[in-house]
């Protein structure tokens, strides 16, 4: 072939490839290095360390012995932990469904072309800007039977009115639910409202031409369209449920008695106050398993499967 003569002594492709890749991608790799280290050390390393500690007999200081599942059997015989688990289930179900229902209603009503829409939106969402500690303290004050809501209603002429949930062993967890919904409903509303605004306007026109009542359109047409937003809101609220700690600490300190203990608080107490590291890490591991088994399929479907763009 006549082109052979112009084939300059080219460097062989594989070596050139490596050099090229290093030259152009080194800065990008270096930039990601700190994050990669954090992922490795904190997100993977610390997690494994915690799991490992849950199989030891560590008390005040960490030990690396092996006691098998002993801590777990202690854990599931522990009243405080069982109450925590039960509480988080109650709180989780009521809080998520409460936020979704109230948030959906608020979003739908705001979507009715009302006056002062932005004012309503601002009012509904402001609790979300506040910390759980503030929320907890505020609701503790509002619901305390001596000077709060109960006294208010009694003074209004209902002397037999009783609302002592905050200090009632059986009902205290529901006050936490109320405070939680107060904090999170606006967020749900904001997410669902964004979804409602994304609904194709022609759909409404079509429904109107077909003579379908508004509420029916919301239930049969709009609600299914809002599915991704509902999923998003649910996931967000669910992560809030697992992290539930500050609110309880500020509002009831887990009391009365152990009536409002939650797993996060159980772990914190055993790690940093009760000097029972092994039991604390065992409880943390149970939390981890619960979260991962619920969320892993969702995260997989949402992100890992649909990675960034090609090229």
């Amino acid at each position: 072939m006549d082109t052979i003569s112009i084939r300059a002594p080219s460097i062989s492709a594989p070596r050139a490839t490596v050099r090229h890749r290093i030259r152009t991608r080194l800065p990008a790799s270096l930039a990601l290095l700190p994050t990669a280290l954090v992922v490795l050390v904190v997100y993977i390393g610390c997690l494994l360390w915690t799991v490992r500690l849950s199989f030891t007999s560590s008390a005040l200081l960490p030990k690396l012995d092996w006691v098998g599942l002993a801590q777990y059997s202690r854990l599931f015989a522990n009243d405080r932990f069982l109450t925590s688990a039960e509480n988080i289930l109650i709180f989780g179900c009521l809080f998520i469904s409460g936020c979704l229902i109230l948030g959906f209603l608020l979003a739908v009503f705001i979507d009715q072309n009302v006056r002062g829409e932005s004012l309503f939106r601002t009012v509904f969402l402001y609790p979300y800007a506040m910390s759980f500690v503030v929320t907890g303290v505020a609701w503790q004050w509002f619901l305390n039977p001596g000077l709060g809501l109960q006294k208010l209603v009694r003074d209004m002429g209902f002397p037999n009115f009783t609302f002592d949930w905050l200090v009632n062993q059986d009902m205290a967890i529901y006050t936490i639910v109320i405070a939680g919904i107060w904090h999170g409903a606006g967020l749900t509303m904001a997410i669902l409202l964004a979804g409602l605004r994304g609904v194709d306007g022609d759909l409404w026109k079509a429904a109107r031409v077909d003579g379908i009542p508004t509420w029916r359109v919301y239930i049969s047409v709009v609600l299914p369209l809002l599915r991704p937003m509902i999923v998003t809101a649910t996931v967000l609220l669910a992560t809030g449920v697992v992290k539930l700690y500050d609110l309880v600490v500020a509002m009831t300190l887990g009391g009365p008695g152990i009536a409002t203990e939650v797993p996060a608080k159980f772990v914190m107490d055993h790690l940093f106050e009760r000097n029972n590291i092994a039991l604390g890490t065992a409880a943390a591991t149970i939390m981890l398993i619960a979260v991962v088994s619920v969320l892993a399929p969702w995260v997989y479907a949402r992100y890992i499967r649909s990675q960034g763009r090609l090229g």
């Binding site: 300059a8 492709a13 490839t17 090229h20």
Partner: protein, 359 residues
Amino acid sequence: MSAVSVRDVTVAFEAFRVFDGLSLDINEGEFIVLLGPSGCGKSTLLNAVAGLLDVSSGQIWIGGKNVTWEEPKDRGIAMVFQSYALYPRMSVRENMSFGLRMAKTPKPEIEKRVNQAAETLQITHLLDRRPDQLSGGQRQRVAIGRALVRDASVFLFDEPLSNLDAKLRNELRVEIKRLHARLGKTTMVYVTHDQIEAMTLADRIVVLKEQKVQQIGSPDEIYRCPSNLFVAGFVGSPQMNFIKGRLKGGDNGLEFVSGKRRLPLVGYQFSQKQRADGEVVLGIRPEHLTVADVGTWSDFKIDVVEPMGADTIVWCSDAEGSLQVRTNGCKGSAPGQHLALGIDTTQVSLFAANTGERL
């Protein structure tokens, strides 16, 4: 020596091979158009030439240099994108000079080149504006200006006119052609799915389909002698008429037969000797059919008439199916009318029915 040479290039994303051993030589000063439907790999090829995409194997040569592993900036290329890709936070002047500033070119030189390019493209008055203050056509001019400033020997265009409306598209098309003529020795590689752009701009067209080169040739060759059914159908509007049939031996050599329709193939240039009795597809462009009172094929009835101004498309059919005919619009043809069609045998194309290749 060729300006751009793609040698046995393979591009792969993960396990998926976009190209497998593709080769292409482009001469200096040539205007090459890569034409194909979306997903045919034309943009991928352009990105590989630009160095925006790593090739898995093979080499890319530009201006006699193996640039397979060079950085895009060192390849002596400039590129214009469909979405203009103007840096939104920079003025037009800053946009055009960004590359030169990156290369630490002296200020007076930058000034000179930017002004020159702006003058060429008549955008001098826009130099201090932001991209968002420009119209689509102006933005694309600026993008071309940014390429011009780079003083590159090869220009790469990635569907540069696809975001513009029809009128602006025609205007800028002429502008690009003029620019190519004025720059003289500059090679241009232009990717598009628009056959009119391809036909009007190209010295040579490369037709791609499913990551494979279908045909390389001048617009005229591509149009008159499409090398397979795909090219024949993709290029030309309205589309070429395709008629399925068989080859039969007749008194004067081979004859095309499809039901009642028969066409003696006197004067048709076969690429190799054909035997009779093969399944074939006959391709006739609408303008190579003539409306006549007595023609090669008769008994057609007009279905639809589409006047297009300069000419008229007549859809007519017989028992075998319908055909499009392009006529000079003056004749008063109306649906329901009967007519016969004359055929210029030297202008038709024949394809093997099984492979789709030209015979």
